[in-house]
């Protein structure tokens, strides 16, 4: 028996087991800590604030839930959204996120811990990321062992692909959904392995939680049936599969239908038909198995086999038929856009206008996953090597999620856990191989290796969190699992390994091991650095406040959004309706607390198109639209002064496109380009462009700021022609410090019944063609 480095000889089995367990717990706590800490950049660099757009709605809904209770929340009709339509909030959201925060809030307040609901919302995502790490650990443990589990937990804890949606303040459904996804998958694997109805039901309960939390639940709804189907096709049907699947499907589907937003979708839409079909197929197969166990004729079995196929095909046919007959809703547009990336651009511009619905750019795979990108295929290959039921699951997951991640940026999120799991399997296998002290047969002398062995463990202890703890734990865990009770379990393990068939191939010597492991740790260290860097620089900006540096180099915060929203909140009438592009609807509702025409819940395309039309038409056309919708204020985002590129002029083409979709005669995209087909805002801009409300509101009095110098738009690097556009139907009401937010008040109809344009001309002292009667009337009024 030869080992590459000396092993301690005086350890009892219990010591090894306990130490391994302790180290695992410590490692998991450290991983949780790292996962939470790495998400706090936004809080430390800025403040405890809700980020971006959708989270503001979730936050607002949570406040309603926390202050008014669950029933009020359930029946909440929000008259301020989608003015004048309103929105049935309780029935059009996934309430899981708000319910989670509400429960946490109530528990804390029950114990008289006065934690602000905002802080709960801000810190919910980091907290759940720790749970995700744990769920991933449990999942990976089922696939390989604890050490791979710890690696996977560490990966998922800090990988940017997941952090991007779960930094502190990013209070969105995804914050809790990834934990639920992983935990449901873990419970499914567990149920499948043991054929346990208990775990199947648990999986169903967490599936229900997932349905209540995120629209992406359809991913589970289809992943599990596909897995079951593949297992059947591989000839791996078993009563375990039957029990697990049936308990999951029956309980899961029934409970998921309790969510009002989901309702009867699980039995009436195409997205859910795969699950139903596989459920039916399993019943048929189970029945066939039952019959087969009673009848032993081979022909009969064959017949039955074909009968199963015929029934299956018939079932699929029935589903298709029902779809055509209208009983089952066909695939929705969002699903079509998953298969045809050009679909959304052609038919549903609203979906296409969202940046996170764009196809993923290749560099973002590396940015979000770094070294996991190339460990991931290796892990999948290793799954093929073992190919138990759960490995089949990971393989399917890997294939499906890889495809989706390539189609849509935001679906990178569903790929990330799978990548972490597969990479952990690959890396853990690599480390198993090289940490294993057993030498192959034709060994050389093993002198002077012992102190080097110490240095390996030393390097592991000082290495990164992701590397150190799992490796050590693995070493001890492997020993703990394999060794019989004896004075030296590690030696026993080595003895057992070398006592088997003599190995001809393997790893010789300590130097080889050391080199490979050093390299591995180096990669892991770089991974940690990369994750930290990406998280801090790319994913930790609240986008409500912008960071910049003042001339003396000190950090400076550009806070125009909150300035304008708070001005609206404090100094306008409480029922003043604010019109803006839908991106800012949730923020206005959350921060300014004013009714909005459209918001980020883009359920009514026509309403959005109306806003788009008002923005893209001339004042004369837009004014009746504004008045018809009781609009008091119009809010535009203008980045031209500061160089903030996410402004409304840059989004203007989408407004035009969406408006054109509803009013193709009145709004035409081509009219907003120069004759040369360029999108410009300088003097070459088309007349329609210059007369559009959006253009006028953006550049109103902009050139005056520059005095005699040419007015430079810093986003588009173009010179704005003088004089600035004038507004007849709107008054500038507020402009923020850096001109990012500009708010205009819509004039009411003239008191004297004149049209506003001539009234303005009169006020401005310009002579009207038939001036005298107007003058006389005005004097009479005074």
């Amino acid at each position: 028996m030869s080992t590459a480095y000396a092993l301690p000889k005086d350890l009892s089995r219990a010591t090894v087991v306990n130490t391994a367990s302790l180290i695992r717990i410590v490692a998991l706590s450290l991983i949780s800590g790292a996962a939470i800490a790495s998400r706090l950049f936004a809080v430390i660099n800025f403040e405890s604030i809700i980020h971006e757009f959708d989270p503001w709605f979730n936050y607002r809904a949570t406040r309603v839930l926390a202050s008014k209770g669950f029933y009020e929340f359930w029946n909440w009709f929000d008259p301020t959204a989608w003015y004048p339509l309103g929105r049935v909030v309780g029935g059009t959201i996934y309430p899981g996120l708000m319910a989670t925060s509400g429960v946490i809030y109530n528990v804390l307040h029950y114990f008289n811990l006065p934690v602000d609901i905002r802080n709960i919302c801000v810190l919910l995502a980091p907290g759940f990321s720790a749970l995700t790490a744990w769920a991933t650990y449990m999942f990976t443990k089922e696939l390989k062992d604890e050490s791979a589990g710890l690696l996977a937990a560490a990966f998922i804890g800090i990988v940017p692909g997941y952090i991007s949606r779960s930094v502190a303040g990013s209070y969105d459904n995804e914050a809790i959904a990834i934990f639920l996804l992983m935990f449901t998958f873990y419970l499914w694997i567990k149920a499948l392995k043991a054929g346990s109805a208990f775990f199947g039901t648990c999986a169903a309960v967490f599936y229900f939680y997932m349905v209540a939390a995120w629209g992406g639940y359809a991913f589970i709804t289809n992943m599990i049936p596909v897995h079951a189907m593949v297992l059947i096709l591989m000839g791996r049907y078993s009563s375990r599969l039957y029990v697990a699947y049936s308990s999951w499907y029956a309980v899961g589907t029934l409970s998921s239908m309790q969510v009002p937003f989901v309702g009867f979708q699980p039995v009436r839409t195409s997205e859910h038909m795969a699950a139903l079909g596989v459920f039916g197929l399993l019943q048929i197969i189970a029945f066939a198995q039952l019959v087969r166990s009673h009848v032993s004729s081979k022909q009969f079995n064959n017949l039955l086999f074909y009968g199963v196929i015929v029934l299956g095909v018939g079932g699929v046919g029935a589903v298709v038929g029902l779809t055509y007959a209208g009983w089952i809703a066909p695939w929705t547009g969002r699903f079509y856009s998953l298969w045809d990336t050009g679909y959304a651009k052609k038919y549903i511009p609203i979906i296409a206008s969202v940046s996170e619905h764009q196809p993923t750019a290749w560099p973002s795979f590396f940015m979000d996953l770094q070294l996991l990108v190339f460990l991931f295929p290796a892990g999948v290959v290793l799954c093929f090597k073992e190919l138990r039921d759960e490995h089949v699951f990971v393989i399917i997951y890997a294939i499906v999620a890889s495809y989706f991640a390539g189609v849509m940026v935001r679906l990178m999120l569903t790929l990330t856990p799978c990548v972490c799991v597969a990479s952990a399997i690959a890396l853990s296998t690599l480390m198993d191989t090289y940490i294993d002290p057993v030498q192959p047969e034709a060994d050389e002398d093993e002198t002077a290796q012992s102190d080097a062995g110490d240095s390996v463990s030393g390097s592991s202890a000082t290495g990164s969190i992701s590397g150190a703890a799992p490796k050590k734990a693995k070493k001890l865990a492997a020993a703990a699992v394999a060794a019989p009770p004896s004075a030296n379990p590690l030696a026993e393990l080595v003895g057992a390994a070398t006592g088997g068939p003599r190995m001809k191939k393997g790893v010789w010597g300590f130097d080889t091991r050391f080199t490979v492991l050093l390299h591995t740790f180096g990669m892991l260290a770089f991974f940690v650095m990369h994750c930290t860097y990406v998280t801090s620089s790319a994913y930790s900006s609240p986008s409500v406040v912008l960071a910049s540096t003042s001339p003396d180099g000190s950090p400076h915060i550009i806070d125009d959004f909150r300035e304008a929203y708070y001005w609206l909140r404090q100094n306008t009438k409480e029922d003043a309706v604010v019109m803006s592009w839908w991106d800012y609807g949730y923020q206005i509702a959350g921060m300014a607390d004013r009714p909005t025409l459209v918001d980020n819940n883009t359920w009514n395309n026509t309403h959005i198109a109306t806003v788009g039309k008002a923005m893209s038409s001339s004042e004369e056309v837009a004014y009746p639209i504004l008045r018809a919708h009781d609009v008091d204020y119009v809010l535009v985002i203008f980045g031209g002064l500061l160089g903030y590129s996410g402004d409304d002029i840059n989004k203007f083409l989408w407004m035009i496109r969406i408006a054109q979709g509803v009013w193709p005669e009145e709004v035409q995209e081509a009219n907003y380009f120069t004759p040369g087909g360029e999108y410009r805002v300088d003097e070459r801009a088309s007349k329609i462009m210059k007369e559009s409300l959006m253009y006028k509101m953006s550049y109103y009095r902009f050139t005056e700021l520059y005095g005699a110098n040419p007015a430079q738009d810093r986003v588009r690097q173009q010179t704005i022609p003088k004089p600035s556009p004038t507004l007849d139907y709107l008054d500038e009401a507020f402009t923020s410090e850096n001109w990012i937010v500009r708010i205009y008040q819509v004039k009411k109809e003239d008191h004297l019944g004149r049209d506003i344009k001539s009234a303005n001309a009169f006020e401005g002292g310009k002579k009207r063609k038939r001036g005298r009667p107007a003058v006389g009337r005005r004097r009479a009024m005074q």
Binding site: S21, R24, I25, L28, E47, S48, I49, F111, N112, L113, P114, A194, S196, V545, I557, D559, R562, E563, A564, Y565, Y566, W567, R569, Q570, N571, G590, M591, R701, E704, L705, D731, E732, A733, F734, T735, S736, E737, W739, Q745
Partner: protein
């Protein structure tokens, strides 16, 4: 109700009482200092006793003036101790003046003289005129007051000086038909002072028959914004475990200058930064003085941190007496410049060392706590203010001494931060607080029994023990119907 009616029986013929003059005012000088929302009025009465052994002196205030007055103090000139002064109970009668009865420090003998000074602060006595102004226009205020200082006693000579913030004045009213008291020009404007009077040989004017009173009006430009704190809530929480006094102020700021006519233009606002002529009625921000030695200062509004504000903290003073001399400075800038009629709400809070505010009174063996009444925003009026002081859980024998009589006061229990029985909370409500109230402190004395200190740790440990006990039991209860050999669940 019985007591006042008895008193009224005793004192019923009050005009008669006033008619029997105890005093004669040899000279009355009133000086009015106009400064935006607050107007400081100091009236000096040089009085001569006509009868012996009089203990009270009556000061009459016109009803309008009394309603504006939020603070008054009567002192003997040159002394610092305020005298006891109370409004007469029969002020409720339908008269257009109220009588303030001042208890003199010692009874005066016949012919003795003394100088009494009545200092009052009037709130919102000046109002913007014109009531609306555009962003670039200047601000002017109007102040009106009654020409004569009325008194139940005969006044030999009286005069009123109005101090303006600026020599310039738009207009001021000339008194009419005053020839019986004054010889020449009754009103004159020199520098930044407008003088009315002197008016000589004034009969007792605080009576129902006097109807010569005139209302004077001064229209003057004012170059500073008018700030009002529409509501102010202070929450002071004492923690003995943390040796900490946390103060949390909820402030609703309002610009009560002329209302903005038209709209706010950022362009004009940014242009003004380069022009020499400052626009007076815009509040760009304010400098607040916070105590020295504070930590964890926060200033946020309903949607987060007010990133436009900055703080400079001063270290804690070495000696306790030095506290008022040093202060931390908060450059409080609202998110947007506040134009006329605009509002801004924010929250300001900090932690400070409890030792700076509380001590142990060995004679009574009680804790003594001293909580400042408010954070003062310069030259502003606090329309509604409530101050609550939260004592440690289990505090007993709570006594409190407000610096000024509050409108309402209450003591209740507040449950917060892992409390089991709750903490006593004292709440005082005030109206129209001014700079004269700014230095007031609420004194609270209380005891905290030793066991009350331990209440929280005990409660928390019991809760954790219960939790662990449940865990202990839960892990040892086997709910499996039959043991499946393959299902041995391996735990972490």
């Amino acid at each position: 109700m019985l007591l006042p009616s008895l008193l009224s029986l005793l004192l019923l013929p009050s005009p008669a009482v006033l008619a029997v003059a105890n005093f004669e005012n040899t000279a009355v000088v009133r000086s009015i200092e106009l400064s935006g929302t607050l107007t400081h009025v100091a009236t000096t009465y040089a009085a001569k006793a006509l009868v012996g052994n009089v203990k009270t002196y009556s000061i009459a205030l016109p009803r309008l003036e009394k309603e504006r007055t939020s603070f008054f103090e009567v002192k003997v000139k040159g002394q610092n101790v305020p005298l006891k002064a109370e409004f007469d109970w029969d002020s409720f009668k339908a008269r257009d003046y109220d009588v303030l009865r001042v208890t003199l420090p010692e009874p005066l003998s016949v012919g003795a003289t003394m100088n009494l000074v009545l200092e009052t602060v009037q709130t919102r006595a000046s109002r913007p005129w014109p009531e609306k102004a555009s962003q670039t226009e200047t601000q002017s205020l109007k102040y009106d007051f009654s020409l004569f200082v009325i008194s139940p006693y005969e006044t030999l000579v009286q005069r009123t000086k109005v101090k303006l913030p600026h020599p310039e004045v738009h207009s001021f009213t000339q008194p009419k038909d005053v020839s019986q008291w004054a010889q020449d020009d009754a009103a004159s404007h020199i520098g930044n002072v407008i003088t009315y009077g002197p008016f000589r040989n004034f009969a007792p004017s605080a009576s129902d028959v006097f109807d010569e009173q005139q209302t004077m009006q001064i229209h003057y430009p004012y170059e500073y914004p008018l700030v009002e704190i529409a509501s102010y809530h202070r929450h002071a929480e004492v923690s003995h475990w943390g040796a900490n006094l946390n103060i949390d102020d909820n402030i609703h700021l309002r610009n009560v200058g002329p209302e903005l006519r038209g709209h706010f233009s950022r362009l004009e606002h940014q242009k003004q930064a380069y022009s020499t002529k400052r626009v007076s009625h815009i509040i760009p921000g304010m400098v607040l003085h916070l105590p020295a030695g504070i930590s964890n200062v926060y200033y946020y509004d309903l949607i987060g941190n007010v990133s436009t504000s900055h703080l400079r903290t001063a270290p804690a003073p070495a000696k306790r007496d030095a506290r008022n001399k040093q202060y931390s400075t908060l450059e409080m800038r609202p998110r947007y410049p506040m134009l006329g009629g605009w509002n801004y709400t924010f929250t300001l809070g900090w932690d400070s060392n409890l030792a700076d505010y509380a001590g142990w009174d060995t004679t009574k063996s009680k804790y003594v706590l001293e909580v400042p009444l408010m954070t003062f925003v310069p030259s502003s009026v606090y329309t509604e203010a409530s101050i609550s002081v939260v004592l440690p859980e289990g505090a007993t024998d709570v006594e409190y001494f407000p610096p000024f009589a509050p409108e309402t006061q209450s003591v209740d229990t507040l449950k917060t931060y892992l409390d089991t029985t709750g903490r006593p909370r004292i709440t005082l409500a005030y109206k129209n607080l001014t700079d004269r109230h700014a230095l007031g402190t609420i004194h609270v004395t209380y005891r905290v029994p030793f066991l009350a200190h331990l209440k929280k740790p005990i409660a928390v440990s019991i809760a954790f023990m219960l939790f662990f006990a449940l865990g202990l039991v839960g892990r040892r209860v086997n709910l499996e119907l039959h043991s499946a050999p393959g299902l041995k669940q391996k735990t972490l």
